[in-house]
Chain length 183, copies 2
DNA sequence: GATATTATTGAACACTGTATTCGGTATCGA
DNA sequence: TCGATACCGAATACAGTGTTCAATAATATC
């Protein structure tokens, strides 16, 4: 990939995430992105078909990064809720989020976070399904599987939303504890 | 209120909800609403400041209706999860939703439902808070109150979302059972 | 039933934002 | 150095929003 292309793409992402932490997606104009990224209009459209595609690609990049971090061999065999020999998968994710890479948390909060939460949940569903064998909970036998998986993932997302909405006062360990009690 | 005003307002709501069940809010143009409602452009803006205000007023009208139905004296003293002497509050809401008043379920599903779910959740939070004294669950003593209330409401919303997304095959009674087991 | 009031119409308008085009310029890889 | 290609920027077509106003129609009230 050409250096110019990388620089332009990165500048656009940078400007876009900055704007997203200030205002909702709908209110951001391509013009603002161009100005902040210092990029020509035609250049923008050479990289991204539309503003919506930009958002989509950003989401994919961010969550790919997040979920890659729990797909490492030494982590992925661990239980989602609890783990004796290190952080559970959920705790690992929480810590990762707390690092606030790429301002991802700013994007997960706010009014216009539906798309981000959607990507987050999609990744979680995949994660949970892939580790289904690790679950031996009572609920998995009583409730329909898809309801139950969906419930875990939703509670996961809502717990994070609650955490961030309240200023992330609690430690990742405390939130992980709340989650395992709630679910 | 003038008959003409009522007729116009109703026609706009009708056209709008119809369009909302077909496409997302952002993709609906005022022009489409006008055409379907058979109403002049100036008339529309005499009734609603903007397209966003229209959505807001529709939400308020719909959910006001829904939550009024569980605020009746004979219902509101009942427990949210279980009730010996009739339907629980949740079961009552599920039955009400199943009746599909005003196509509200079509609006709760689909891609662009975040605003509806937000209103739904807001109503639920108020409902749960107002009946806090009825809860004597173990979780309420272990978990922080706001986390716990938020968890109940979120699970409520996500359960309904799951139900609707899967075609509402289950009876309201079954879904109410799933909910009380999950939460 | 006559009349004053008020809602509605429809067309024209300014405005903002999207997405495309294209000739010229700067930067890159080899 | 040179050919390729990414970028610039200005112009442009286009779609949607929200406003205005004089003419018209429906309504409430007396």
């Amino acid at each position: 990939m050409d250096r110019r292309q990388k620089r332009t793409r990165e500048a656009i992402f940078q400007a876009f995430t900055g704007l997203l932490s200030e205002k909702s997606f709908e209110k951001i104009t391509v013009g603002e992105i161009l100005e902040r990224a210092d990029v020509g209009r035609a250049t923008f459209y050479a990289h991204f078909e539309t503003k919506d595609f930009l958002l989509k690609e950003l989401c994919e990049e961010l969550f790919c990064h997040i979920f890659d971090s729990v797909s490492k061999p030494e982590i992925q065999h661990r239980h989602i809720f609890t783990c004796e020999e290190g952080d559970s998968v959920f705790l690992h994710l929480l810590k990762h989020l707390k690092n606030n890479d790429n301002n991802i948390l700013k994007l997960l909060v706010g009014q216009n976070n539906e798309l981000f939460l959607q990507y987050f949940k999609k990744g979680l569903l995949r994660l949970i399904k892939s580790q289904l064998s690790l679950f031996e909970e009572r609920k998995s036998t009583i409730l329909p599987e898809d309801f139950w998986i969906n419930h875990i993932a939703s509670t996961f997302v809502e717990t994070v939303r609650w955490w961030v909405d309240h200023g992330m006062k609690e430690s990742p360990e405390t939130v992980a504890e709340y989650f395992s009690l709630a679910v």
